[in-house]
Amino acid sequence: MKKIKELLTTNTQLWKGIAIVAAIFSFIICFLIIANYFQINRLDPVNTELINTLVERLSQNPNDEALRLEIRELDLLVRKAYFTNQWQIRTGGYLLLIGVILFVISYQLINSAKKISPEVGEKDENNLFLQKTARKWVSIGGVSLVSIALVFAFLTHNRLGETFVEAAINENVVTDESSADEAATEEISSGSQVAETVQTEPVGTEASEPEETAPVEKPEQVAISSIVKYPTAEMKANFPSFRGPGGNGIAFQKNIPTSWDGASGQNILWKSSIPLHGYNSPVVWGNKVFLSGANAALRQVYCFDKNTGELIWTANVDNVPGSPASAPEVTNDTGHSAPTVTTDGKSVFAIFSTGDVIALDMKGNRVWVKNLGVPQNHYGYSSSLYIYDDKLIIQYDHRSASKIIALSTQSGDEVWSTERKGKISWASPVIVQHNNRVEILLVTDPFVASYDAKTGEELWRLDCLYGEVGPSVAYADGIVFATNEYASLVAIKMGDQPEKIWEQYDYLSDVPSPVATDKYLFLATSYGVVVCHDAKTGTLLWEKEFDNGFYSSPIMVEDKIYLIDREGITHIFKVDKEFVSLGEAALGERVVSTPAFADGRIFIRADKNLYCIGK
């Protein structure tokens, strides 16, 4: 051991030699690695000029097998060269490491063999002078740093923060403008937050009514935003279906009154009688309000002037091929026209207890009509209609063959249809955009399911409910809320693998549908209790009992919930974790339908009349 130690420490000349050789070796290897690196970077083996030329020639003569073979061989050669280069670099790295280690060991051994020979310095620097010089250079360093940073900052200053805020607003406006001609909508966000809508007053005759013109998407703007936007800006600017755009219980409107009185006429702009009874709700597009009504013998669609309440036209739904000679048996509390009509601004669509579906243009002319087969429903068919893109979406859950159908809005032809295994449902679809996909959410006994709005493909399904399901679902922030009386209230995290995140049993609804924000879930019941849950945990935040029960569903407008009880009293309260009443307004007539909101006004279908409320 001692001998080895001596050998290591005494042969200084040997180690010096090794150190020199190792250093030269390392230097050469290092040089070669660097040269190799530049060589490997200069060549692009998958994009060589020669191969590209040959490939181009091959595309002109696709049957030239010899050429194809030649390209393959060349490609292989180039790839081999590339990987050989890589191997060389890696091997070179190991050789370099060995060289460096040898050099360091040799040098350390040489050093260790040396005896420490400390030298006592002659110069004796003055501490004050050193401090002064250091202060000077630290100050110079600081000033330089600040100067460079400031010059750089001012030269490159871009108001980035403001730029992106403006860009976000512009992005929203560009997307909105691409789909809306007359509405200029400033969107704040989707889901729970509410957009501010400024809508120009429609003027002129029907022939020139802007809302009847088909929305034209500008091609370049479509290109800018390839991301799906649902509901569209024009849907948000109107109120095209039951429970608003997409049926999620949110009205993207502003300046809606909070007080009126049916008895004194305060804030009642007009009131019009509705010819035939129906439990459906009004929808609004441009300056028109649409409803339907029916009895066992007649089925009608109505169009009212939004500004005057005048009944502009009535369309009879008759002479429908395949329609039954007599209407099916329905109960009084459902009737023959429980489904709410829908519109896309070009046509208005309606469905009745007979299974008759009709498309009318905005002047009341029939575009197409068809019968889907009489739905086997012991109370009466009640699922409302919705539109996605150019498809009319129909939840056709009945006893014999439940399905969801998409018909072409232009022709009525079936675009897709998906069979459903559930039982009868009285709920309506809710269409939402989740991530970059538009999904149709349906609820029935025993499951909540989601369908791709483009193809009808079932995306996911979760068994969680039972009974005769009436309320539709609510959606916010990736969570679907479904409920039914005697079953439960469930929150489901959407996704290909849906997950039940909470469940409550205390207050359940049998008719009104819930409405949700990313924080809260509001639920009204037919026995008069309204509750608010924490949307993420299900914790009951508040409950409030009212004198009358609710059939109408709550609608969220800005940060307010509008909810009409069966006696026609609208309860307005704040979207908050505590119950804060913002007003109550009586209509003086019983109400079971859900109100529509547009252009600063509320449209309520009462028992016999349609009301317009505004300032």
Partner: protein
């Protein structure tokens, strides 16, 4: 001449640190007509928990051994061999991760981002060296940190640099520390890890830029010992502060300094404080006036620094990948790609986030950087202020003592001291 070359090399390395390193897959995966499907990308399994525990145990053991070698045995040779062990174990075996230097970013991220689950090893690697430093000085730097010990092995021909340059460059680790905290706190990046000059060596996968920076740094380290530790390491900046309070710090002499001056130039890190005699003391009123002036100026420097940082926040934020993405989308520059859509933009579109959401998110990030810019700038102003104040203080010193802040406890100086512990016994 050598000094000048070494200084230029050192400055070049420091400036190189600001460059980003790009690494992209060079080959697109080929599509086979034969129907052969590509094997899926394999994600390496996380390090086994047992190994994590072993790492922590080895860290404690290594710290204890090095501390014992430094404080009790006063053995430079022992410290050197522990350095070799640290390079092999913490460097090549553990591939340099998690290291204590980078762990301060994990700690910062955990403090600012509740969603981040910090590994216990990261906490241990951050805390343990600080605790040891608090009691025994920077023994971690001496023989445990793989980055430091690797450079130490290369410190073959160290030479001294000017005091003023040492002081100016000594501020850089604090700036780096501030930047690392800012970027970790805003969930932007772990810049210490991204610009780690030696981890590529430990893993045998250094990119060319990393190879260059690390190589030049090691070459410089032959002449200017441990350049990364002294003029860049942000964790070293922390340990520098903590070590000043250490009770049992290494001493040059085991007993009393005999003023032989033999150790005067023994420290390759310029970490020996020489005696300052009373005759060098200024007149008291002048010294007090200067001290007060620099003390009063500190808040002004903090404000100037804060203002500068706040104005510089856009440049700081541009490192953030989301900010860059939003910029590219807004200006339609497509990351400079002309032939096809940039991968980042394709990925953004596939993710389903709208531009509006991205812009709003980025606006919020930039706001964070504005606040962060004020804090970072203020911190740098404070560092400059305190450095200036420290340079106005007269500290009377009779003996040659290690500077507790900058001393790396490498124990080189002890070999130069002719005073032996036995001598003390004999004298008594």
């Amino acid at each position: 001449m050598k000094k000048k070359i070494a200084t230029i090399l050192l400055l070049a390395i420091i400036s190189l640190q600001v460059y980003n390193i790009y690494a992209i897959q060079r080959f697109p995966k080929p599509e086979f007509e034969s129907g052969h499907t590509q094997p899926p990308t394999v994600t390496p399994d996380p390090r086994a928990q047992a190994l994590d525990i072993l790492d922590t145990f080895v860290l404690v053991a290594a710290l204890s051994v090095v501390t014992w070698l430094v404080i009790k045995k006063r053995s430079r040779k022992g410290v050197f061999w522990m350095s070799v062990f640290a390079v092999l174990y913490f460097g090549f075996f553990r591939e340099g991760c998690i290291c204590s230097v980078g762990s301060l970013q994990n700690i910062t991220l955990a403090l600012f981002n509740p969603e981040y689950s910090i590994p216990l090893t990261a906490i241990a690697f951050f805390i343990l060296p600080i605790v040891y430093t608090l009691f025994f000085g920077r023994t971690f730097c001496a023989g445990v940190c793989p980055l430091g010990t690797l450079q130490d092995i290369f410190a073959l021909k160290p030479m001294s640099i000017k005091t003023w340059l040492e002081k100016v460059l000594g501020i850089i680790p604090f700036i780096y520390l501030g930047l690392a905290i800012l970027y970790a706190a805003t969930s932007t990046d772990f810049i210490i890890c991204r610009y780690d000059p030696f981890v590529g060596f430990f893993r045998f996968d250094a990119t060319f830029m990393m190879f260059s920076i690390g190589g030049v740094l090691l070459l410089t380290g032959i002449f200017i010992a441990r350049p990364y530790c002294r003029f860049l390491c942000p964790y070293g900046a922390l340990l520098n502060l903590v070590s000043r309070f250490s009770k049992k710090h290494i001493t040059i002499t085991p007993t009393e300094c005999i003023q032989c001056r033999l150790c005067e130039d023994s420290c390759p890190f310029e970490a020996i404080d020489k005696p300052v005699l009373l005759k060098e003391k200024e007149e008291r009123p002048i010294a007090v006036r200067r001290f007060l002036m620099y003390t009063i100026i500190i808040p002004v420097l903090i404000l100037i620094g804060g203002y500068t940082g706040s104005q510089f926040h856009e440049n700081l934020a541009s490192v953030n990948t989301k900010v860059r993405l939003a910029n590219e989308l807004l200006n339609e520059t497509n990351y400079g790609e002309t032939e096809q859509e940039a991968f980042e933009i394709t990925a953004f579109k596939a993710a389903g986030q709208s531009k509006e959401e991205l812009y709003n998110e980025v606006a919020a990030i930039i706001k964070k950087f504005y606040i962060g810019g004020w804090i970072l700038g203020g911190f740098i102003g404070l560092v400059f202020g305190l450095t200036l104040v420290s340079l106005t203080i007269f500290k009377y010193r009779e003996d040659y003592t290690p500077n507790k802040g900058t001393c790396l406890s490498c124990a080189r100086c002890v070999d130069y001291c002719p005073v032996l512990p036995e001598v003390k016994t004999e004298l008594q």
